[in-house]
Subunit: 364 residues, 2 copies
């Protein structure tokens, strides 16, 4: 049941408006019209200075209106203006990861900064869609009473995006853009993503140059597109370089033990937040990083961890992705169909944990 208070049980504005602040009637175009002896329509026309529709206003009339405006300090009510305009210049930002209790939100901050920066530049406002209910640790986009349609459209943030949501967005014709590449969903999905395959491949190639003969990808390699993309780049580059490769499903001790036993000399971490776990494990096994084992981080950590090593890897251009996501979104609103799927290059970071492959065959 959708009632006035449904979902907003705590949001109960007073009947009469805030008590602290006093009421004050706004000056409207009607007032200006009365003061200068013209109609409201004339006031609006003077304000908007439209010459295209064949409308003309005599110079002295215009001046009278402008004088009245100056005297009263009139400012058009943005609300009414938007209502008549159809677009409200508000861009929704939907983040799947809730703020509470997740610590994952720090990862998304740079994206938001990029969005804000571009919004600032282009003169629009961002609506953080925090009212979406949280279910199983993720926000639901189309729950009852969804406010996704408040804005002109929305930007999607999140490690993983619900396919049903995407399909519904496409079906309903709600303009949107995803931050992060997404597979098609009943049509191409506009996105601004990071080029994980290229960045991962570059690091694999570097490892090959350094003599590594057997390397491992640590992580799921499926699920979110960003995982699949990394693994794809990893496999292609390893095959191309003629390096033996495998996948370790998680950064767990026994899995890593097995990999090392098979002769792996470099691990590529899908999730850089696993670096501490891996280095701790290596220390426990008496393995030197990078002397015995090279460690490469494929991106930035999505959970807050403290890493004291200068890890080799790459950086996701999060801020720039945010910026361009807004560009793509406004392009969509403007009717553009080109260049609505973008992959941005990641920046490689040399770091100190990718070293030449160890020369000795075995460590006990």
């Amino acid at each position: 049941m959708i009632t006035r208070t449904c979902g907003y049980t705590h949001y109960m504005p007073a009947e009469k408006g805030p008590a602290v602040t006093g009421p004050r009637r706004r000056v409207t175009q009607r007032d200006i019209a009365r003061l200068s002896g013209v109609s409201q329509a004339t006031v609006s026309l003077v304000l908007n200075n439209r010459l295209d529709g064949g409308v003309r206003i005599a110079a002295d009339t215009r001046q009278r209106v402008l004088d009245a405006i100056r005297e009263t300090g009139y400012v058009a009510d943005p609300i009414a203006r938007r209502l008549a305009d159809h677009y409200n210049r508000i861009i929704g930002v939907f983040t799947y990861e809730p703020v509470f209790p997740s610590g994952a939100r720090d990862f998304f901050h740079p994206f938001l900064l990029g969005l804000e920066e571009q919004a600032e530049r282009l003169g629009c406002d961002l609506l953080l869609l925090t009212s979406a209910p949280v279910d199983g640790g993720r926000r639901r986009m189309f729950a009852e009473g969804s406010r996704i349609r408040l804005a002109d459209g929305c930007v999607l943030l999140g490690q993983e995006v619900d396919r049903g949501d995407l399909e519904r967005l496409v079906a309903e014709g709600i303009p949107f853009v995803s931050v992060g590449r997404r597979d098609d969903a009943g049509g191409p999905v506009p996105y601004v993503g990071a080029d994980y395959p290229a960045a991962t491949a570059a690091l694999v190639a570097r490892a090959a140059e350094l003599g590594h003969q057997k390397i491992a990808y640590v992580g799921r390699g499926e699920g979110p597109e960003s995982y699949a993309d990394r693994l794809r780049g990893f496999r292609a580059a390893a095959a191309k370089a003629g390096v033996a490769y495998g996948r370790v499903p998680a950064a767990a001790g026994e899995k890593l033990d097995a990999a090392v036993a098979e002769g792996v000399t470099a691990v590529f971490l899908e999730e850089p937040a696993d670096v501490p776990a891996v280095t701790a494990w290596a220390a426990g096994r008496g393995l030197d990083v990078p002397g015995d084992l090279s460690v490469v981080a494929l991106g930035d950590p999505t959970r807050p961890v403290s890493i004291d090593l200068d890890v080799t890897g790459f950086t996701i251009p999060r801020r720039e992705m945010g910026r361009q996501a807004l560009d793509v979104f406004l392009g969509l609103l403007g009717g553009t169909e080109e260049d609505v799927q973008r992959l941005l290059p990641c920046e490689l970071h040399d770091g100190a944990t990718l070293a030449p492959a160890p020369t000795g065959r075995n460590h006990s």
Copy 2:
């Protein structure tokens, strides 16, 4: 001259709506009314579930309307709602510091997280007012075409808040709350601030206990309320403990030299981002921290800096401030006039840079 495109020159939606996404007309109450065979008025009444005005809706009619709403995913247009109602369940967030090129924004992230967390909990959305024009490195709240009134009111973030803005907010009756204590501005200003005086005083008292006889406050001590508050707490506590004290206007070498020459053995930094500058200066003078000189950070750095010391000081409860700011705001909307000015305690951090006063009198 106020023209239609003023301030939004880059935001130019196509005449016909987005091309990729079919031209999707917004679902309105008229549509719902047609679908369920009632009038628009009835739809509105069902949505708002008003029982007070003596209006009644039959259960089955109500259900038909609710069904249609669910099927279509209808959401009330916030703009129209606000025009008619004056409320749209959107809370504005105005930050004085722009995103670009400032690095200062990281400081505000925890506040925003707190706001988001509480918005999530209470079921409302946050509008980041990024459309405000930037002038002299600060956003202007009431520039021409200001969109501050799009929301039900706003939360103010920023190191320093423009007094004229505050007065206008009060005068125009726009509900708002400041994150950070503010002096009165034509009336009491609702705020949720940090108790800088108490936290600063506690650290001063601790220094006194450790034998420091002469201490210095480093910073402006005026301007933003947060500076003035720190200095006030500093002076009061120093006087109470019978410790000699002075103020060094900036963390500049010669100023610090003079202070040390006068026998100062502990410095309290208004701006913790100055810690690296002070420690670098101390190292250059051969002063050991904290052996020769204790260093106390009064809060969290407002600029991104890397600090490798475990600095003694206190932490601003930023997230909790954000949370409570939203509570206060909603209280105001609800007509509360009590408890709209709150000071939250800061958490002291022991750290390792406040040590007993040096016993020797001089270092050359």
